[in-house]
Symmetry: C2
């Protein structure tokens, strides 16, 4: 074991010594100090070890946001195992896929935590011969297991470069892949967001989003690393969130627009006065009602919120708007622990102002996907992690995020990125939504076709929109044709390019051969 | 090269892209952006490579605080070499020892930067057959070398675990040893002080203390890592410091009590009004005159200053008072990237409340001493780095620093190792035995008192011995007083420092005032 090593287990070991009386976790009626959390984590590690979990094994958690998720993560970390918080919104089929793909040595399962998942778990156990040991993940059986276990530290040597957490993402080929994040990467990422968001001792975070998603998990881990307090909401509940913000003097929560609106509404008491004091909460500006109750900072670290660009595969955030609040690029500047390069199709760095694929090296980069050598080969080609996203370095050095690389259009030897053309189209007042595809062209390889839905009463013509795009971005990127439609089909947040290609004769993309890897 | 790697050279590579127009360095009339700094570093790396510097080689810098020191550090870093900023206050004998011990591949030498060192360098070159290539370290010859060199990045692969900086310290056995700090350790340490001191973009640091000392160097590196601005003072000059604070809107400087008093006095204009606006400077409270001019914060990160416990061998600071401002232990809590254990003589952890040796594992720990396997074996026994200092874990988990296990003296912020002074005294033919203690000093914390037994028939006077010591080692290490005795009391092989302290009014050793807490 190197004298320079540091793992998530080591951080907990230090916290139990440096912060024995500090509150680590609040979950309903349960309050744990760091000393008590470490005792329980040691006991759970003993339970998992007895169930056969060794270094490199996966531990799957099927349950709600809970201190038991934190205990599971840290117990797996002390054994050198990989903790995978399962997506509780996934279907039975998806759960069956995850069980098969992950082959977990143990499953921490909260019976009845979700109807769909219950069914999924039951189906999967039947179908797959119950891979791994299924253990009670939070009920009375869980407490009995812990009570019977040894509270001594397992003391196993764990390499900081070993994966500690796996998160399913990146369904490039139609099935999600499990991105593996090492202790080193998670610790560096926590340091980065702690620097940018000024997370320090006494910090209290409300785990109000799902912990199987990096957006909440990254703050959870940063609060833990800082020796702060994690407050858990089993699932999002606006009224309970408001109560907890006051009761625990919460500093930050995970929340995007509709969640903040819901909390403000739930906190509206008789006569309109707020039920709970939310003033401890640092937040971006959102609405007059919200802003009047919380602390809307004017410092970049606060006012810019989590602006920037990120991905599960880099631990969460790669760039932060707060590091360049007045920069030309909307994604700000990189985390202090990474290097970013914008690469052309040949893998060479492109000049400022040119669009290319965002590539990264550094501490927070993931360790590859679980059992997906094909995806890994593409992701790490050339010694850099290729994000699969397009960006641009502005003249002042700041970064702009353009959009996903897949579906790049090649026309007359020029690269045209649909996201860029779509953004230009949507700047026109008559356009409600837009998607851009490439259609085969005998002369130019491909030409650009736009599929557009108009705003109600909108009368924009094909010619008008083509001319508009040519005034906003380089003329060669403008559509040759515009097709109007009532609704642009979407697959999640992105246009459903496969459906659009099928409906409008798209094809001939240069990156197409990479879709299958 | 791992996709997770990050070196000081990589940070500069990213800065030149993310911050091409940000001012990296200000040194007299020279102002460098990060783009220009990287160009010059690349050129210097080419010069050093042509001089034969390879990975693992040492580059010794003999000169003042200067942007050339920063350039040398980063150029060595890009080659995987170790940069050693020489102590410019050291004697000719000490420089000769360093040249012999270090066997540098290249020496960056500022001719005439210091009378003693000039002499030392000349002596050493004559005596040692000029080890390494001696290059102009900052004069017109330096600029000519750079102008003729290639500004392309050397692009050599460098392992983050390789040493990047060497600092002479720890003269436990009478001669200082060169502590080697890796890229990884320095980057983690910069992250730690940046977290605690809220160092971020736009941060401007006045390099007002010597950069061969970790106290200034650690802020220099943190400012660099944050993409901030380093302003150099060639040597401390109170009036120039005041001018630069206003001109560059300096946020922090290196300064202890007497330095702050000197700046306040130098800034006293006609009629007592301040000459320069010092309000940009964050500082601990010091004196009514000082406090009225600077920004004395009330937040722990500011008000507690650099309170805590540290050592060159852990990159600077190991614990921070700002992480536990109300804690029972005066040294606060550890950096987020280390674990601390208090070990008994048997190497086992002692209980809270008991005193033992402070031991550490984690990212900021040094990589051992240059060519001192004996010291390394003791330092890293049992998989932890033993600091050689005594501490205690209080009931609330915070740490108290008790004092050196050996008997280090602190005078004007310099560490003086009794063994070093004792060796110098015993080199005098009239001295049979000698021991050195610290006695409390109202201005300098401590001053050096020597207890000496003469050789039979010896007639050496106090003045003669003080002058002798000043010719052998740095003048600030010489005794202020010499007391003659028949026999120097010994406890085993070492002087009986407790008896000497009791007999001669010794005390005020660092941390002593905290023994009662």
């Amino acid at each position: 074991m190197s004298v320079h090593g540091l793992t998530l287990g080591d951080i907990l070991r230090e916290h139990r010594r440096s912060r024995p009386r500090v509150t680590a976790s609040v979950d309903g009626g349960v309050r744990l100090t760091y000393a008590r959390l470490d005792d329980r984590v040691n006991r759970l590690a003993a339970v998992l070890a007895a169930a056969g979990v060794s270094a490199g094994d996966r531990v799957l958690y099927l349950g709600r946001n809970s201190v038991h998720l934190q205990e599971g993560l840290l117990a797996a970390a002390k054994l050198g195992a990989v903790f995978v918080p399962g997506n509780r919104r996934q279907s039975a089929d998806e759960t069956a896929f995850v069980l098969d793909d992950l082959a977990p040595a143990a499953v921490l399962w909260q019976r009845g935590h979700d109807a769909g998942e219950d069914r999924a778990a039951a189906d999967a156990r039947a179908a797959a011969g119950a891979p791994g040991r299924w253990l009670d993940g939070g009920g009375p059986g869980y407490e009995r297991l812990l009570d019977a276990a040894d509270p001594g530290d397992p003391g196993r040597p764990v390499d900081g470069a070993a994966p500690a957490v796996g998160l399913y993402t990146a369904a490039f080929d139609g099935r999600p892949a499990c991105a593996l994040l090492s202790h080193d990467a998670l610790i560096a990422h926590s340091a980065a967001i702690s620097l940018v968001r000024r997370i320090g001792p006494g910090f209290t975070f409300l785990n109000s989003g799902p912990l199987f998603h990096v957006g909440t998990l990254m703050f959870h881990l940063a609060a833990f690393q800082a020796g702060g307090t994690n407050v858990f909401l089993p699932a999002f509940d606006a009224a309970e969130a408001a109560r907890l913000i006051e009761a625990e003097r919460v500093h930050q929560m995970f929340g995007f627009g509709p969640m903040l609106t819901a909390v403000a509404e739930a906190n509206r008491g008789p006569g309109g006065a707020p039920r709970h004091d939310l003033s401890s909460l640092a937040s971006v500006a959102h609405s007059p009602e919200w802003d009047a109750q919380v602390s809307v900072g004017t410092d970049p670290w606060n006012a810019s919120g989590m602006g920037g660009y990120g991905q599960t595969q880099v631990g969460g955030m790669l760039t932060f708007l707060a590091l360049a609040p007045d920069g030309a690029g909307g994604a700000g500047r990189p985390s202090p622990f990474v290097q970013v390069r914008i690469l052309g199709p040949d893998g060479a760095e492109v000049a400022p102002g040119a669009t290319g694929e965002i590539a990264v090296r550094g501490r927070t980069v993931f360790s590859g996907y679980h059992r997906r050598p094909g995806l890994d080969a593409r992701a790490f080609a050339g010694g850099w992690y290729r994000t699969g996203d397009l960006g641009r370095r502005e003249d002042d050095g700041t970064l702009a995020f353009i959009g996903p690389r897949l579906h790049m259009i090649k026309s007359g030897n020029e690269n045209i990125y649909p996201a860029e053309v779509e953004r230009a189209l949507k700047e026109h007042p008559g356009v409600a939504d837009a998607a851009v595809i490439g259609v085969p062209d005998p002369v130019w390889t491909q030409s650009v076709l736009a599929v557009v839905s108009r705003t109600p009463g909108g009368t924009a013509t094909e010619r008008e929109l083509i001319e508009h795009v040519a005034t906003v971005i380089a003329s060669y990127k403008k559509p040759r044709r515009v097709v109007f439609t009532d609704t642009v089909p979407r697959a999640g947040a992105a246009p459903d390019y496969a459906a659009l290609d099928a409906a409008h004769g798209g094809g001939g993309y240069p990156g197409e051969e990479r879709r299958g890897t």
